[in-house]
């Protein structure tokens, strides 16, 4: 049975969704979601272990051998991202029960779980598939589910946010599929590895470059690459807490994976970095994201939006590594997929607890006043995760920054080092506003006394906070996996 893990990785959450709709019981829905999430984590760990032991794993769906059939292919990069995604899922699922019970109308709760399973299946599918078109299908499965997740938010703004998210996401996916179409016309194959082989013969043809542009812009929309990030702040701010945490930790990260996959696997024969201005574009946009989005976060009044803007900035870190294009920077990029996922996941899970206890659908900064007293553990967790956003040593964020700075140094780009550390300085400013609000502004006299979030939610969020610290000290898995993946990407097909 173990050789079928690649298929089960996706099929399991995919089957869970209709089962949940069929049974239509809230309790079953939650149970199924949780079990599936944990199983997915186990599967992904097994796959990562297998890849580390014996190289890429290939699985032929329907026993049609690649490149004719759809191939599921797990290599160092996809194994790492699989673990990152399912790790987040395994924390969000146990958290979901209480949070959804409060935030979503009773008769729609099962829908929430089903959509979450679909979204998970889609995300895992994107990462695991080795087929360009199959990837598009999974991209849309996960995106459609995400739109619904966002639209289920409590306030009416959620609808508008989801609508805009849907428009931009669909344009992104359409651009992606146009790019794939052009590549298919040029190579006659949809298998990513096969495509790369055949591109060698036609590397300079204009349609290939047009395809590159379409895929870059398309995925840029999906991953909220500055300035294509317009949908993100509202979508994160108005979605239900659990959806925000899940999407923030996984959605954009998987899109980054797609970009990495295309840049370093498919377009490997194309002189992306030496002949095209890829480097300049990515470095410029990433630095802009890191600085501008962080600044906006500093002046944001709503806490969830504040951290959403911070996500835009942190995505800048990730794409920066692609632009700098060396072993260290790519390691930083890939490890940040995990590190930022864990950090933002923790933050939004904690904020969900705050919103629950405060009984608010929105969280203006003022509503955090006195949180240090009301919910000491939650507040402390927010501080730790905030420090990880800043990149203080001993937290996951530091590891990323270390590699990015090293990468910039290796290129001799001192100004970039200054930009990286400068942006984390701005991060200090916005994290600090939250900390000040929690500890230095006394709460209302009438505010409820010391009441933490429900244990299940607190435990899940707390575990994620611990992970922020854990990945700051013990980097055997995170940096080890990311460095392997980066080396794998840079080695290319040669």
């Amino acid at each position: 049975m173990l050789e079928h893990v690649p298929a089960l990785q996706v099929a399991l959450p995919l089957v869970a969704a209709p089962l949940i709709v069929l049974v239509r019981s809230r309790r079953f829905a939650w149970l199924a979601t949780t079990v599936v999430s944990y199983l997915c984590l186990l599967f992904s760990i097994q796959l990562a272990w297998r890849v580390a032991a014996s190289g890429p794993v290939s699985y032929a769906i329907g026993s049609w051998p690649p490149p004719w059939g759809i191939e599921y292919r797990v290599d160092a990069l996809s194994a790492f991202v699989l673990v990152a995604v399912s790790l987040t899922a395994s924390f969000v699922a146990p958290y979901a029960q209480r949070s959804i019970a409060v935030e979503v109308a009773r008769d729609r709760q099962y829908l929430m779980y089903a959509m979450y399973c679909l979204s998970l299946a889609g995300l895992l599918g994107i990462v695991i598939t080795g087929d360009a078109f199959n990837l598009f299908v999974f991209l849309e499965i996960s995106s459609l589910a995400s739109y619904v997740l966002v639209a289920l938010g409590q306030r009416r703004q959620a609808l508008m946010a989801a609508y805009q998210y849907m428009l931009m996401g669909t344009v992104g996916a359409t651009f992606y599929v146009i790019g794939v179409g052009l590549l298919y016309l040029m190579t006659g194959t949809l298998n990513l590895v096969d495509m790369a082989e055949r591109l060698r013969a036609v590397e300079d043809a204009r349609p290939v470059l047009v395809a590159l542009a379409f895929i870059t812009v398309g995925m840029g929309l999906k991953l909220a690459l500055f300035p294509l990030h317009h949908w993100l702040p509202n979508a994160y701010a108005y979605a239900p807490s659990m959806a925000t945490a899940f999407l923030a930790a996984t959605g954009t990260k998987v899109s980054v994976y797609v970009l990495l996959r295309y840049y370093f696997t498919v377009f490997d024969p194309v002189p992306l970095f030496s002949h095209l201005p890829t480097e300049e574009v990515f470095v410029a946009l990433s630095v802009a994201a890191m600085i501008v989005a962080s600044f906006i976060a500093v002046f944001e009044k709503d806490v969830k939006r504040l951290f959403a803007w911070s996500s835009v900035a942190q995505i800048g870190y990730i794409t920066l590594g692609i632009g700098v294009d060396n072993q260290s920077s790519l390691t930083g990029s890939i490890v940040h997929l995990l590190n930022h996922g864990v950090t933002k996941g923790a933050i939004f899970l904690l904020l969900g607890g705050v919103a629950l206890r405060a009984g608010l659908a929105a969280l203006p900064l003022r509503s955090l006043a006195g949180l240090g007293r009301r919910m000491p553990l939650t507040a402390f967790g927010l501080v730790i995760a905030g420090l990880s956003l800043v990149g203080v040593p001993g937290t996951a964020g530091f590891i990323t920054k270390w590699y990015l700075v090293l990468g910039a140094l290796e290129r001799g780009w001192w100004w970039l080092v200054a930009a990286i550390v400068g942006s984390s300085l701005i991060a200090v400013a916005y994290v600090w506003r939250v900390v000040e609000a929690m500890y230095l502004h006394p709460g209302d006299a009438g505010a409820p006394h010391r009441r933490e979030a429900p244990p299940a939610m607190l435990a899940a969020a707390g575990a994620m906070v611990l992970l922020c610290v854990y990945f700051g000290f013990e980097t055997g898995f995170s940096v080890g996996g990311a460095a392997d993946a980066a080396a794998f990407l840079l080695r290319g097909l040669r």
Binding site: V392, P393, G394, I399, A418, L425, V428, G476, V479, G480
Partner: protein, 476 residues
């Protein structure tokens, strides 16, 4: 194993204090016992370290090739001894202060206090630059709640300046400097003789040094000294232990470490040529500001800024003697300045006076306190029979040996300035007529503590060999 205990004891104390937040007596007993235990644990290493042992403990690998390491070497031991010893004294003092002034949130205060000590000890024991950086940042963060302890607008403002300057410098300069060192040398270990020897020179080396010197903001070189006066909004025990001993000494200690173990004592002088100028300027300028400050704690803070630069100056001269002077001055200044702060806190608690101009005749009402203050002031000026004399003496010898006339001139000028802003306080306190309502000494624990540190200051003058032995050992 015992090494880990040095960091774990204060950390455990912090946890225990948090656990017994409902019982103040137990809480303070834990604090005292922990401090004593820590001091003796550190002390137990001294013999071995003097004989040349370097106990080392690998905490685990944080990044490939980059481990977290604790290693005890003489300078670190000296710093750890000072930090833990004075923790005990100031724990006694804080009991009097916090209760005497009815401060709120005392548990949080003690927890953060112990956590700060844990971080400071971590800095002292750090076996490589990464470990040092880790604890250095931790120290910044855990002291922030102490600085903003009062939670009012003024505390918020002070806390902002404090955190902004310290975090900004460490993120903007220290981290890139560390990354560059790793990139150039391929290691971050502290090694006698340095790791950058022969790998970087000229302007690049000077730039790297600048990144370190300004990146380690806790050393309070001008123009990044502003956080230190800002931190004075904290309760006095915090100013005393942290902003006269643990935090600021962690800064200059880090600079000495970087100079000795990263650049190496034999590193080319050219790269260091600019540093004495900056340090000298800081010494003089801060003294001038102190001269004009009326708020007692502010005056002490600027005095600290100036005294810290003595250490930097001594390290920058880069001769064996001056490096020893740097180490000695860390100890001497710690003892003297904590005495002064203790005295300032005692005056505030007993008489609720904060300005120098209010101190007329207070010395007659609080003879013990102001006797101790006098000894502290002597130490700052560098007169016998106080510890400051010893370190200044060695520093001057070192400067003479190197023919460093700039340093010599700065020392002479600043001695005069120091005298100019400390002696009037002593004069006012004893020889002017008192006014206002009657009051006596501060609560007993406070007086005990400040007398103890004053006695230690005098003792160090008479038994200067011991710290000197450590300082010499540092250079191998």
């Amino acid at each position: 194993m015992m090494l880990a205990a040095c960091v774990l004891i204060p950390a455990a104390v912090a946890a225990l204090i948090a656990a017994c937040h409902r019982r103040p007596n137990l809480r303070e007993a834990v604090s005292l016992a922990g401090a004593a235990l820590l001091f003796f644990t550190v002390l137990s290493f001294s013999q071995a370290v003097l004989e040349g042992a370097r106990p080392r403990l690998l905490l685990g690998e944080m990044l490939p090739g980059l481990a977290l390491v604790l290693e005890l070497e003489p300078l670190g031991l000296l710093f750890a001894l000072i930090a833990s010893g004075l923790w005990f004294v100031s724990a006694v003092y804080s009991i009097g202060y916090m209760r005497g002034n009815h401060e709120a949130n005392q548990t949080r205060f003690y927890v953060c206090f112990a956590a700060a000590i844990a971080s400071a000890i971590g800095v002292a024991l750090a076996g490589n630059l990464l470990t040092l950086y880790l604890f250095y940042e931790a120290l910044t963060l855990v002291t922030w709640p102490l600085v903003t302890h009062h939670g009012d607008a003024e505390a918020r403002r002070g806390g902002r300046t404090y955190l902004a300057l310290l975090l900004a410098t460490s993120l903007l300069f220290f981290l890139p400097a560390m990354a560059a060192t790793w990139w150039i040398a391929g290691t971050l270990e502290f090694e006698p003789g340095g790791i950058l020897q022969g790998k970087v020179s000229g302007t690049a080396a000077a730039l790297l040094l600048a990144l370190y010197a300004f990146g380690i903001g806790k050393a309070a070189l001008m123009p990044i000294h502003r956080w230190l006066p800002a931190a004075m909004v904290a309760p006095t025990p915090v100013s005393a232990l942290l902003h006269a001993v643990a935090v600021v000494k962690a800064g200059v200690f880090s600079i000495v470490k970087v100079v000795v173990y990263v650049f190496g004592a034999d590193f080319g002088r050219e790269a260091f040529a600019w540093l004495p100028w900056v340090a000298g300027f800081t010494i003089l300028a801060a003294s001038v500001v102190a001269l004009r400050a009326d708020n007692l704690k502010r005056r002490l803070a600027y005095s600290t800024v100036s005294q810290l630069s003595y250490v930097v100056l001594a390290a920058a001269i880069l001769t064996p003697l001056s490096l020893a002077a740097a180490a000695l001055h860390i100890v001497a200044h710690a003892l003297g300045k904590i005495t002064l702060f203790f005295a300032a806190g005692a005056v505030y608690t007993a008489a609720h006076k904060t300005e120098v101009s209010q101190l007329d005749g207070v010395g007659r009402r609080m003879p013990w306190t102001f006797a101790a203050f006098g000894i502290g002031a002597l130490s700052m000026i560098g007169l016998p029979p106080a510890a400051g004399f010893v370190s200044k003496w060695v520093l001057v010898s070192g400067a003479l040996e190197a023919g460093h006339w700039l340093a010599l001139g700065v020392v002479v000028a600043s001695t005069l300035l120091n005298a100019g802003y400390f002696l009037p306080i002593v004069y006012r306190a004893f020889f002017r007529e008192a006014s206002g309502e009657e009051h006596g000494e501060a609560p007993l624990p406070m007086v005990l503590a400040l007398v103890a540190t004053a006695v230690l200051t005098v003792l160090m003058f008479f038994f200067a060999d011991l710290p000197l032995a450590f300082a010499r050992k540092m250079l191998g």
